[in-house]
Symmetry: C2
Subunit: 225 residues, 2 copies
């Protein structure tokens, strides 16, 4: 069974867990706090980031791209049923939004929230910077407007079929929702989409996540939120 | 002929240009200053980033991942001669370093340099923030040590064959070299690697780049630098 080095609230590893669950691949989870930069972990990934996927008799897949391509190549049931669209134009749109979520959205929203609200819990005496959190919240509203606009004309993030882009966004949104940062009353068309993806069997593993001394926001695990 | 929306000193578009040249694909270049966020450009890419690859009778490929996969699928001469390794473990290592360069290295070095030294030239009265540039320079030294350490035991960035990871790093290094930010005396094993990749025919297009009122650093276009 492969081992995934992860953190329960890290969006990249949440995305990988969704992917593994969707493809029916059991996995051993090993929790890492990447921000502690522990020497044993830096030996495995000097970039100090998760995910890292370790399989017996194979070189570890280190980082998000290496991990998702390893999973796609080994475990995707078939191209048709997989998470990467087979039509070229749909695939390009999927990569555009995958990059939007893991690049722009992460840079402008999620990584600030994780740094201030999660990582700083492990620094004695550190407190969240409210100025940074206010900026992240303003950025989040802009992004949610854009996603809602997309969902007004398509069923899934990159088109009419569910794809890796949906898992990427669902991973980030679920991290923010755990912490209570999503205002579902104002989320518009995005709420329907999240309700649909949250109801998938693959999502169950994420809904059971609990971080010590940081309980999830009310409604986090409810399918009718 | 496809059209590439680019900026001469944007590392992601430099990487795409290297890839197109390596595959022998002629391209029309159209210069964009993404930081100006011009409405016509935002209509094409609301993320306000390059590259964007536009081909007749096809949906535009927007962003780095969409563009490189589109090029790889349409123009790679064959899997064997392509830039994505065919062996799984080598491919995982390639994606690890691709992500390192376009994620971590960009976040910690290149994007600060571009913001302070290039984008601010278009803001009346703005001057580079020397504190930011000092931090970027310190980060650059750490990264160069890591790359030199890798090159001490391998010919190319991700292994014994040239790959997309080399083009990613060469694109970033060449942007920094244009501006004069690379100290080649201190670059160790990396200098040999850069000399080799700079001598490739695909590199010529980048060496002819000139930005108005910002001439390249001495040695930028020299193969014997």
């Amino acid at each position: 069974m492969p081992t995934l080095l992860h953190h329960p609230l890290d969006p990249s590893t949440r995305m990988v867990r969704l992917m593994l669950a969707e493809y029916g691949v059991p996995v051993d989870l090993e929790e890492i706090k990447p921000w502690l930069r522990e020497p044993d972990f830096l030996d495995i990934n000097p970039a100090a980031s998760v995910p890292v996927l370790i399989e017996e008799e194979a070189v570890a897949a280190v980082g998000l791209l290496a991990t998702i391509f390893t999973i796609e190549e080994r475990y995707a049931p078939s191209t048709v049923a997989g998470l990467i669209p087979t039509v070229g134009s749909e695939r390009a749109e999927m990569w555009r939004l995958f990059e939007w979520v893991n690049g722009k959205f992460n840079d402008e929203v999620t990584r600030y929230v994780i740094e201030e609200k999660i990582a700083k819990r492990d620094q004695r005496g550190a407190t969240p910077d409210t100025g940074v959190l206010r900026a992240a919240k303003a950025n989040l509203q802009e992004h949610l407007l854009y996603f809602a606009w997309l969902f007004a004309s398509r069923r899934w993030l990159a088109g009419d079929e569910m794809s890796l882009a949906d898992f990427a966004l669902a991973a980030h949104i679920s991290t923010l929702d755990y912490i209570g940062d999503i205002d579902w009353e104002a989320a518009g068309e995005m709420r329907d989409w999240y309700s649909r993806i949250k109801s998938r069997p693959a999502f169950r593993t994420l809904l059971n996540d609990r971080v010590i001394a940081l309980p999830p926001h009310a409604g986090y695990a409810d399918l009718d939120f």
